[in-house]
Subunit: 328 residues, 2 copies
């Protein structure tokens, strides 16, 4: 079977590949569906939450390190993570801007679109609009709109005495990226290394966890740029400080096996990005209840009114210097 | 004064340039403003309209052919045009994804952001969120959300007997681009040529016109890819046909002066893009009323039930072959 390129199927061929998978949105509050000048709907007394993310080839991903389907899934999950970071919100509609070289194969677009579909189905969402343009590198720009009738949880609500909680382990995704950078995708990896790579290529947004716990939280964000940055944002926006117990930061057994030097594993956990776990603060009295709702939660520190974040290891203060990803 | 680059001011420096201009959004239905994980608001019983557009350097614009401020304005206006194409809708919030080479100067970003601001102020909108990433070429991805309590006008509502109307002249923007491609920006242009270039670099969305007339319309779109494509979309989506009187297509006196050969001017009008005029259909009985509301309206043809679009010049049918922009 001949593999056609986008150049041969044209803009409308490209749009139709994606449209076909998402046209059956049978939501009864849609007024003007996918394919007109705008997508229009009635929010039925819900509040609206919107976020936008962009993935660019060779900056945020390399085609040869993943599959088009996983790339599509990740583009949606990474953006939804910001929706999870607002609390009990239902992601509803994705709007996808695609930049593609004309030489891109039709099958690549189909698989990418399958990935969008898989992630959307997981969260009961649909692609409701977008734009396709020519570009040198692949660009995936995703806007997601969610709706909510619940209290929305800002970064800025942390209170002195709040425990700082996280929903799962840190450092896996960036340790996976480290392996891909060093050895590429075709290397013979151990089971643990493959786990790290899967966390890099196939992250999942914590929508479900956020819906379960957010009602009890004082502040909330997601850790797309690493735990250190998330703690920094929560405390700065709340005009508070924190003591962090580094030995409480959850690290997966895979990451510990791959990086036996604990300090190295901890570096990935603190400064590595793309874990997409939730980072939140909660009054101490609610901490146990939350662990019942989401057993993988760990508490890693406590908010105070000092406006400084201090890191401790075995109760001894540690000097920490930021060494994470610089966006520019 | 030293001109800093994005690389030296970093991601947060870049975000702050834009945030500073838009943080004073005092709309009382905003729940979580610019700068948290999502932007959240209460739509207060309005319907929501969303559209997304993407501009890429050297594909959709060349830095040397325009100013950063005009580029910022155009990115917003071109996207708002899709909001105008839904009828009486208020554009409210813009979400901007920016891809930038690290060597981009801070002053460029400031001027670009001034352009966003200028267009937003014109339409009583604000930038409410976004994302900034590193890229080789400048990428401007704009999502715009509008709200409406009015009937939304689809492309698919055209009825036999409807007149086909347009809000102003066609072909100017693409004739301007033709000049820029041929002579660059520094050429000594005539007054008429400068008018065409200004229509290319500084288009305005027809929000106001749409709000005035849309209540009377059966179908509506905007002409971002040229008049020919817009007529094709309206008739196809409505499962109708049309007779078009080419001699009624409005062409500016500037375009006629620059391209004295009428056929050439008409080619720009039919196949050139980026005019961002509205193309609509309206029952004949309402045609005069609409011209009172928006005097620049012209009627260029009539819808019929044939499913074919025929073009006439001086009542003689013409064979028309599409020769416009191919996106891929």
């Amino acid at each position: 079977m001949k593999n056609k390129t986008i150049s041969s199927i044209g803009e409308f061929g490209l749009i139709n590949i994606i449209k076909k998978q998402f046209s059956n949105s049978n939501s009864n509050n849609v007024i003007v569906g996918l394919g007109d000048d705008c997508f229009c709907f009635n929010p039925q007394k819900n509040n609206i939450c919107i976020t936008k993310d962009m993935l660019i080839e060779d900056i945020h991903f390399k085609k040869e390190w993943t599959t088009p389907q996983k790339l599509g899934e990740k583009a949606i999950e990474a953006t939804i993570s910001d929706i999870a970071a607002m609390g009990n919100v239902n992601p509803k509609y994705a709007f996808i801007g695609l930049g593609m070289p004309p030489t891109t194969s039709e099958i690549f677009v189909k698989n990418l679109s399958n990935g969008f579909k898989k992630a959307c189905d997981r969260h009961n969402m649909t692609v409701a609009g977008g734009d396709t343009v020519k570009s040198d590198k692949i660009i995936i720009s995703v806007t997601i709109l969610g709706t909510s009738k619940h209290k929305l949880i800002k970064r800025s609500g942390a209170k002195p005495g709040d425990l700082i909680g996280v929903t799962n382990t840190f450092g896996d995704a960036s340790a996976g990226l480290f392996l891909l950078r060093k050895y590429g995708i075709k290397h013979k990896y151990s089971k643990e290394e493959l786990f790290l790579i899967s966390k890099q290529n196939n992250p999942k947004a914590r929508i479900c966890e956020s819906q379960k716990i957010s009602n009890h939280l004082n502040s909330l964000t997601d850790a797309s740029d690493g735990l250190y940055i998330s703690i920094d944002l929560l405390t700065k926006e709340s005009i508070k400080g924190a003591n962090i117990n580094m030995d409480k930061i959850p690290i997966s057994s895979s990451l510990r096996k791959v990086h036996k030097e604990y300090k190295k594993a901890l570096d990935f956990a603190l400064f590595g990005g793309e874990d997409y776990e939730l980072v939140f603060t909660v009054p101490e009295a609610k901490a146990k209840l939350l662990k019942k709702l989401v057993p993988k939660i760990s508490y890693i520190g406590k908010i105070n009114s000092s406006k400084k974040v201090k890191y401790f290891y075995n109760d001894k203060e540690q000097k920490i210097k930021y060494s994470g990803y610089k966006h520019f």
